[in-house]
């Protein structure tokens, strides 16, 4: 995945491309400046006192003057930090309300993110789309914002949705619905991943967010709404898929497969990766994955399919047509 990752512009917390991340970065620089100033002052005094007051061989043997304390000094170094805390706390609270209490505009795009061990389900309730691991959202023009409002929930254990260039992280907690929002104003692909330990493959629960201009986004939506079209050349592969355990966990619209335990595969070839980001989405990788997912992602909940070599070739040949 190294080559694929390197094609994506680097940057994280301090390269925001969306209002929540941007607001956070501004506050972060402010608090970094304050803490750096404190560090230089206190650290400088410590360093000075160690150098200035270190024992030297020439010192006389008498003990230095004993100083038991000083109330004015104690008062000063209590009051000054109190003032700093006052300023920093107020600034922070204001930013909390700016991000968390933002009012949802009428034209917001809605996404429901559902965390699974160890992949992401993305549902667009208004658009009738279900996809996985790669979230598509429209570009938001700062003058006419079209933000995306995200509801987060979990199908099993706690997860956390984190794409640092777009927003801070929000946890996905079973029996609880959280919300967050993003309004990316630069097109591109942004990387993120699950940030709450969720079991064996927590490390390989990766996220890609694809931000594209509205027209491209709308075209993607149209394509995602279509059902899979059967091509005669690969019909046997579809048969293998439908008659094996694949169909009990996966959905492919336009076939008899309606499982919901695993990702929806109707348009799986429109995605860049397999296994929630573990490898690029090529026929070879797909074949390795279907043969035994544990070889790419040990611990993944999809079992080895134990297909014959012919069945495997056929099913992959059909899957690569699911564009």
């Amino acid at each position: 995945m190294g080559a694929a990752n390197r094609q994506i512009a680097r940057g994280a917390v301090f390269s925001p491309v969306s209002t929540p991340a941007n607001t956070i970065a501004t506050l972060a620089w402010f608090s970094l400046a304050i803490t750096l100033a404190i560090f230089l002052t206190v650290g400088g005094l410590l360093l000075y006192s160690i150098i200035r007051f270190r024992a030297r061989p020439s010192d006389e043997q008498r003990e230095p003057p004993q100083l038991y304390g000083s109330n004015p000094i104690e008062f000063a170094w209590t009051a000054i930090p109190l003032l700093i805390v006052f300023v920093l706390a107020l600034t922070t609270v204001r930013t909390i309300y700016d991000v968390q209490a933002a009012v949802e505009p009428a034209n917001a795009v809605h996404v429901r993110v559902i965390g699974h061990q160890w992949w992401w389900e993305f549902r667009y309730p208004d658009l009738g789309i279900v996809t996985a691991n790669e979230l598509h959202v429209p570009l938001s023009d700062p003058t006419h914002p079209t933000p995306t409002w995200i509801e987060l929930e979990s199908a099993d254990v706690a997860h956390s949705f984190w794409v640092p260039r777009l927003a801070g992280k929000t946890d996905l907690i079973p029996n609880k619905i959280n919300t967050m929002w993003i309004d990316p104003h630069e097109p591109g692909t942004y990387l993120g991943q699950c940030a709450e330990f969720c079991g064996t493959e927590h490390a390989m629960m990766l996220i890609r967010v694809v931000v594209e201009p509205r027209a491209n986004f709308d075209r993607w939506v149209e394509a995602q709404r279509l059902a899979a079209t059967a091509q005669d050349t690969v019909a046997r592969g579809r048969q293998v898929f439908q008659s094996n355990a694949c169909a009990s966990c996966h959905t492919v619209q336009g076939t008899s497969a309606h499982g919901t335990y695993g990702p929806d595969l109707t348009h799986m070839m429109s995605r860049q990766t397999v296994g929630s980001g573990v490898a690029t989405n090529t026929a070879d990788h797909l074949k390795t994955w279907v043969r035994d997912p544990a070889r790419m992602k040990p611990g993944a909940l999809m079992p080895a399919m134990n297909l014959s070599e012919k069945d495997l070739d056929d099913v992959v040949a059909w899957m690569v047509t699911l564009k």
Binding site: M1, G2, A3, A4, N5, R10, A12, V13, T23, L27, A28, S31, F39, V42, G43, L46, S49, I50, F53, R54, A55, E63, P64, Q66, L67, Y68, G69, S70, W77, T78, L88, A89, T92, V93, T95, I96, Q100, A101, D156, V157, A158, S160, P164, G168, K169, D171, I173, P174, N175, K176, L191, Q193, A195, E196, F197, G199, T200, H202, A203, M204
Partner: protein, 565 residues
């Protein structure tokens, strides 16, 4: 206020005429240590076992760093990695930090207040053995954790064991049960110690030692024990609830049956955040004894230091949900915990300023304990400041659960606490063994460990800012994680060399170290007035004191402390 020094209390001591010097055979020695109720022996056993677990959990950390040195490494499987991180974290808190720190309090509190033992010696022994066997259970899980269906080994749920990952649906076998029961037993042991420390400090002080004449260390032991008493029960309660979930079909945290995952987080962190202070307050205590002695000055602002410690104790009980800024609390809830968390910074700052005031105008002797204490001051300052950054809730939405947090809390736990534990060992080893640790090896230990610590944990802040979450068994290339991770792993080599120098120093000095005498550091508190090692009864005659620095008064009869306090 009496103006003379009690003539029964002399430097020379009279223990030689009383101390039994019967050479025991090995079996007799073992029997003596197993059946002992002596606070010094129990304290040393706490510290010794804590150091053994420190080496084991440290090796686990080294394996973690080896796996993360380069992307896509296959040194260990994801399952093994997740067990490593769980045991490393759990062990370092409950099997290393807690016992070493309570071990020091066990050893020092009676000596510093002129008492012959803790108030409840048998309770003390009970607490130790409960803790030890609880601790051994955690590692026994590698053997016994498979369970009837063979699923599992050691626990793999992280040290805060978030629900519902710990429920039977997601954690099969007995591994999670070992995590629960081991920590439950260790906590009961720690609670017993806490009761004992408070009772001792309040009822066993020698004549003349009013509460405001207790050494700062003893005050901090009281605050620490108070925090343990208040915060361990919520953890124990939650662990029992989890056991009920797992075995009796209760649904406290079982989200599939309507339980609450967030409830566990509240229970855990109302213990877990004060726990950080339970661990760091002893480090403050060591610093408050070592910095004055090596600066040759009385502690600056004794009353303020004690008050600030009590304030830290109280405030730390009201900040727990700053670990939960991303679980979806209301803005008002977040605002409350932002403010309370930042407020803890004020008494903490006061402590740093008072240590600075203690060094100011002193004559600082840069011996090994002081070197560790100085490094502690800088590192704890940085840890406090990154803590302020994490209290800025919106910034925390980015930083929490990343390597920035990992770096932050290792700055507290290693840069602060482990450095002060080393300082304390170099400082009190002569008292406990009668022999000095080697100064040159100590310098090697200090510098190697310092370099290693900064290579590892300075760089990990940047890995977090690049977007690297914690607890991932590997990462892909091309995301900017490679360089900080490689440097961090190289740092481990230096840390390990430092620890090897330390272990060698301890082993060598136990047999051939320079004899220490009673008072090798020219110090001022009561433990230095008795022989090294102290006899079982500590003091032949109970001392009478008139100030916070009884030995200063003895050494400077022309200018005693009680004139100024």
């Amino acid at each position: 206020m009496a103006g003379t020094i009690d003539d029964r209390f002399t430097f020379e001591g009279r223990d030689s005429e009383l101390a039994p010097t019967v050479a025991l055979p090995i079996a007799g020695k073992v029997h003596e240590w197993i059946t002992t109720v002596d606070h010094k022996k129990l304290g040393l056993m706490y510290i010794g076992w804590g150091l053994i677990f420190f080496l084991v959990a440290g090796l686990q950390a080294a394996t973690i760093r080896l796996q993360l040195a380069v992307p896509n490494a296959g040194i260990v499987s994801p399952q093994v990695f997740n067990r490593l991180l769980t045991l490393h974290g759990t062990a370092m808190v409950f099997l290393v930090g807690m016992p070493i720190l309570t071990g020091f309090f066990n050893y020092l509190v009676p000596l510093m207040i002129g008492a012959r033992d803790l108030a409840f010696p048998r309770l003390n022994a009970f607490g130790f053995w409960l803790w030890l066997f609880g601790s051994l259970l955690l590692y026994f899980s590698y053997i016994g954790g498979g369970g009837m269906d063979g699923a599992g080994s050691a626990p793999a749920v992280g040290w805060f064991a978030y629900a519902p990952l710990t429920e039977t649906a997601f954690s099969r076998g007995h591994s999670t049960d070992y995590w629960i029961i081991s920590i439950l037993l260790a906590s009961v042991g720690s609670t017993a110690t806490a009761v004992n420390l408070i009772a001792t400090a309040f009822s066993m002080r020698c004549p003349g030692m009013a509460l405001n004449k207790m050494p700062v260390l003893v005050w901090l032991a009281v605050v620490d024990a108070g925090l343990m008493l208040v915060t361990l029960p919520p953890l124990s309660a939650a662990q029992i609830m989890l056991l009920l979930d797992r075995y009796l079909g209760a649904h406290f945290f079982d989200t599939q049956a309507g339980g609450s995952a967030v409830l566990w987080q509240h229970f855990f962190w109302i213990f877990g955040h004060p726990e950080v202070y339970v661990l760091v307050i002893p480090a403050f205590a060591f610093a408050s004894e070592i910095i004055p002695v090596f600066s040759r000055k009385v502690i600056f602002g004794y009353e303020v230091m004690v008050a600030a410690s009590c304030a830290i104790g109280f405030l730390s009980l009201g900040v727990w949900a700053h670990h939960m800024f991303t679980v979806g609390m209301t803005p008002a809830g977040n605002a409350f915990f932002v403010t309370s968390s930042m407020l803890v910074g004020i008494p903490t700052g006061i402590k740093i300023f008072n240590w600075l005031g203690t060094m100011w105008g002193g004559r600082i002797r840069l011996r090994v304990p002081m070197l560790f204490a100085i490094a502690f001051l800088f590192q704890f300052l940085i840890a406090g400041l990154t803590g302020i950054l994490l209290a800025v809730a919106p910034f925390d939405w980015q930083l929490t659960d990343t390597y920035f947090v990992v770096a932050h809390f290792h700055y507290v736990l290693i840069g602060g606490i482990v450095f002060m534990i080393f300082a304390a060992i170099y400082y009190w080893f002569p008292k406990a063994t009668g022999r000095m640790l080697d100064e040159r090896l100590g310098q090697w230990h200090f510098w190697l460990f310092l370099i290693g610590f900064h290579l590892t944990f300075d760089t990990l802040h940047f890995a977090g800012l690049e977007g690297m979450p914690r607890r991932i068994y590997t990462y892909q290339p091309g995301r900017g994680f490679e360089l900080p991770n490689l440097i961090a792993s190289i740092g481990v080599i230096f840390q390990a060399l430092g620890v090897i120098a330390f272990v060698y120093d301890v082993i060598k000095s136990l047999t051939s170290g320079k004899p220490a005498g009673k008072d090798p550091w020219d110090a001022w508190t009561l433990e230095w007035s008795t022989s090294s090692p102290p006899p079982e009864y500590n003091f032949a005659d109970l001392p009478t004191v008139h100030s916070r620095r009884p030995l200063w008064d003895l050494k400077h009869p022309e200018d005693p402390d009680w004139k100024y306090e």
